[in-house]
């Protein structure tokens, strides 16, 4: 038997602690990517649902709403569908902790001599990367729908998707740390995810809703994440003023139209809150 001289663990020096925690976060992130890359079926099924929505709702509503000077409902929906894809994947990734628990791997992470925050951050970063990737894959549909893409637009889209994905993955991690069993997962998906998507403006304009619904949409974090995505896409589409009026992309709060910067700031705020909650949830998990 060969003898490899190996050094045992030496007590940690403070200056190396941060680097080690960062390595941990990176490793957890990498695991999410490896798993994503190995589950092609998941990537595919992640595409099917949004495409179905696009076809069913996009074409269905297109007849109803009609086309305004070359701009139709499918184009309106497209950024929303991308957002939907990102959000679904993000929450799914965050909540995969429920699977990790079921299959035991969570225990391997939790008993390690590492900070729980590093684990929560790694899980969030990994899930968010995967979700943004999944959303970006949707861009292959753009030509078919007639959405015009530029290099700058793609960069903006990826950036906004990442921000949205971070917020929602952290949210998923937070929810998952409060769920003991698989059944809870289904319930959360039904009760939380779909209402959040429907009331975010992703699939239809938020104007003209009854007051009480309007209030709910303004409380929905997703609303502020979807709007900027739509705005950057629309800005590259040469819309006429009439089309812009028919297909609004902005959010009004208390009669004020939010700037894209304000929307991004609000989303970043939600992301920060959800990350804090995710870390706390992870720290308390046994």
């Amino acid at each position: 038997m060969s003898t490899v001289p190996l050094r045992p663990m030496i007590a940690q020096r403070p200056e190396t602690v941060l680097r080690d925690e960062a390595r941990t976060t990176g490793m957890v992130w990498l695991r999410e990517l490896i798993r994503f890359e190995r589950t092609r079926t998941r990537i595919l099924s992640g595409l099917i649902q949004p495409v179905l929505f696009l076809i069913v709702m996009g074409y269905g509503m297109a007849g109803l709403v009609g086309s305004i000077e070359g701009f139709d409902f499918k184009k309106f929906m497209f950024p929303g569908i991308m957002a939907m894809s990102v959000v679904t994947t993000a929450i799914f990734s965050g909540m995969s902790i429920v699977w990790d628990r079921e299959f035991g791997f969570l225990r391997e992470m939790l008993v390690a001599p590492t900070s729980r925050a590093s684990l929560a951050l790694g899980k969030t970063a990994g899930g968010a990367t995967v979700a943004a990737a999944q959303g970006t894959i949707m861009l292959i549909l753009a030509p078919a729908i007639g959405v015009h893409l530029t290099g700058a637009l793609v960069v903006e889209i990826v950036g906004l998707e990442l921000l949205m994905a971070i917020a929602l993955t952290a949210f998923g991690v937070f929810v998952a740390t409060h769920i003991e069993r698989m059944e809870g997962f289904q319930v959360v998906m039904q009760m939380l995810l779909f209402p959040m998507i429907f009331l975010s403006g992703a699939l239809f304009p938020l104007n003209g809703l009854p007051d009480w619904l309007t209030v709910i949409t303004r409380l929905n974090p997703l609303t502020y994440a979807v709007a900027p995505l739509r705005q950057v896409v629309f800005a590259a589409q040469h819309m006429t003023p009439r089309a812009q009026a028919r297909f609004p992309s902005t959010v009004e709060v208390f009669g004020h139209t939010l700037s894209i910067g304000a929307e991004i700031a609000i989303t970043a705020g939600f992301a920060a809150i959800f990350i804090a909650l995710a870390i706390r949830g992870f720290s308390r998990t046994e």
Binding site: M1, S2, T3, V4, P5, L6, R7, P8, M9, I10, A11, Q12, D20, R23, T24, G26, M27, R31, I34, R35, R38, T39, F103, G104, F105, R107, E108, M109, V111, A112, P113, T114
Partner: protein
């Protein structure tokens, strides 16, 4: 010998075999009013295989959880690798390897990826990771499966990979929580070969809990635990020797005569339906003398040595629930084990 520990800087050892690596003083763990562990004390010596043997509900898992910092002691003091489990849980975790009852591998990852993940979380220096992966896989005989997905592993291979993973960060103590029930005999053999080899080649101290007599048999020392208390602690041989002598049962052509003859020469004897029972120090060695002393032709001889079951019965008044596991005693390991001694 002690390959993994060859360059121990932290403790400036050449391994001191008498040095305790786990020290437990008056450990109590209560759930409400109920004391699952009720004031136990023991040391585990560097390099030994130490077994915690007891029936269901004895407090084995509760104890191991406290030792691994997964549960807090209600009272008492527990040091693992020199660190207090309550005050320095992270330091303890860096110095122990854990193999749980249930699998905790990611089966979508390869063996190498699982090990690498562990290495990073346990702060193995980057430049040593590759060498350690190769080394631990070699120890559990899985070198050729390094790049295979864990989902393609058999139950036994996965188990061995978990042991390998637990060794990645060169723990001072390897904790094996109840080697699982569902493993086939051959896998159990391999597992025990691994465990014993680890001790030989890597100098790893092994702490395991079990309710199988046959498994405890391999340990250097056994603590028998019942109702949260240690009722006996010693080597398997000493435990058995302590509860009494071997017995030899002779069946002869005339048992009454034989019994009387043996009693006259000074043996402690007892008439039993099968013939004559004689209590002696070393059963096998006494047989020729007994046959000579019986004075009548002997039909058959049966030597009975006390088992751990007898030991348990002696100390608790109850029989530990024996399972079919006894039938699975891996003879190959046993031979290997006795060669080692």
């Amino acid at each position: 010998m002690c390959a993994i520990y060859a360059e121990d800087e932290q403790t400036t050892r050449p391994t001191d075999r008498r040095r305790p690596v786990v020290e437990v003083h008056d450990l109590v763990r209560r759930f409400g009013e109920f004391a699952a562990v009720d004031g136990i004390s023991f040391d585990v010596i560097e390099g030994e295989v130490f077994a915690f043997l007891g029936p269901n509900g004895a407090g084995k898992s509760t104890t191991i959880n406290v030792l691994c910092t997964l549960a807090h002691p209600t009272a008492g003091r527990v040091l693992v690798a020199g660190f207090d489990v309550t005050a320095h849980p992270k330091a303890v975790r860096r110095n122990i390897g854990l193999v749980f009852q249930d699998q905790t591998l990611d089966d979508r990852l390869t063996a190498q990826e699982n090990l690498r993940f562990h290495a990073v979380l346990y702060r193995v220096p980057s430049d040593q990771v590759q060498a350690r992966i190769a080394r631990v896989l070699e120890l559990v005989d899985l070198s050729d499966r390094r790049y295979d997905l864990v989902s393609e592993f058999s139950g036994g291979m996965a188990r061995r990979l978990e042991i390998a993973r637990a060794l990645m960060h060169v723990p001072r103590v390897l904790f094996l929580a109840e080697p699982p029930i569902g493993l086939d005999p051959q896998t159990r053999v391999l597992m025990w070969e691994d465990v014993l080899r680890l001790r030989e080649e890597a100098g790893v101290t092994v702490f395991l809990t079990t309710h199988y007599m046959d498994e405890a048999e391999y340990a250097d020392r056994i603590a028998i635990i019942d109702h949260g208390r240690i009722v006996a602690l010693d080597t398997p041989e000493a435990l058995k020797a302590a509860i009494g002598a071997d017995t030899v049962e002779l069946s002869t052509t005339d048992d009454t005569l034989a019994t009387a003859a043996l009693e006259r020469v000074g043996y402690r004897v007892e008439a039993v339906p099968e013939g004559t029972r004689v209590y002696v120090e070393k059963g096998e060695n006494a047989v020729p003398a007994l046959i000579a002393a019986a004075g009548v032709p002997v039909r058959s001889v049966h030597v009975h040595r006390p088992t751990l079951d007898d030991v348990f019965l002696h100390h608790t008044g109850r029989q530990i629930r024996e399972s079919h596991a006894e039938a699975m005693i891996p003879a190959r390991v046993r031979a290997w084990h006795s060669r080692r001694r």
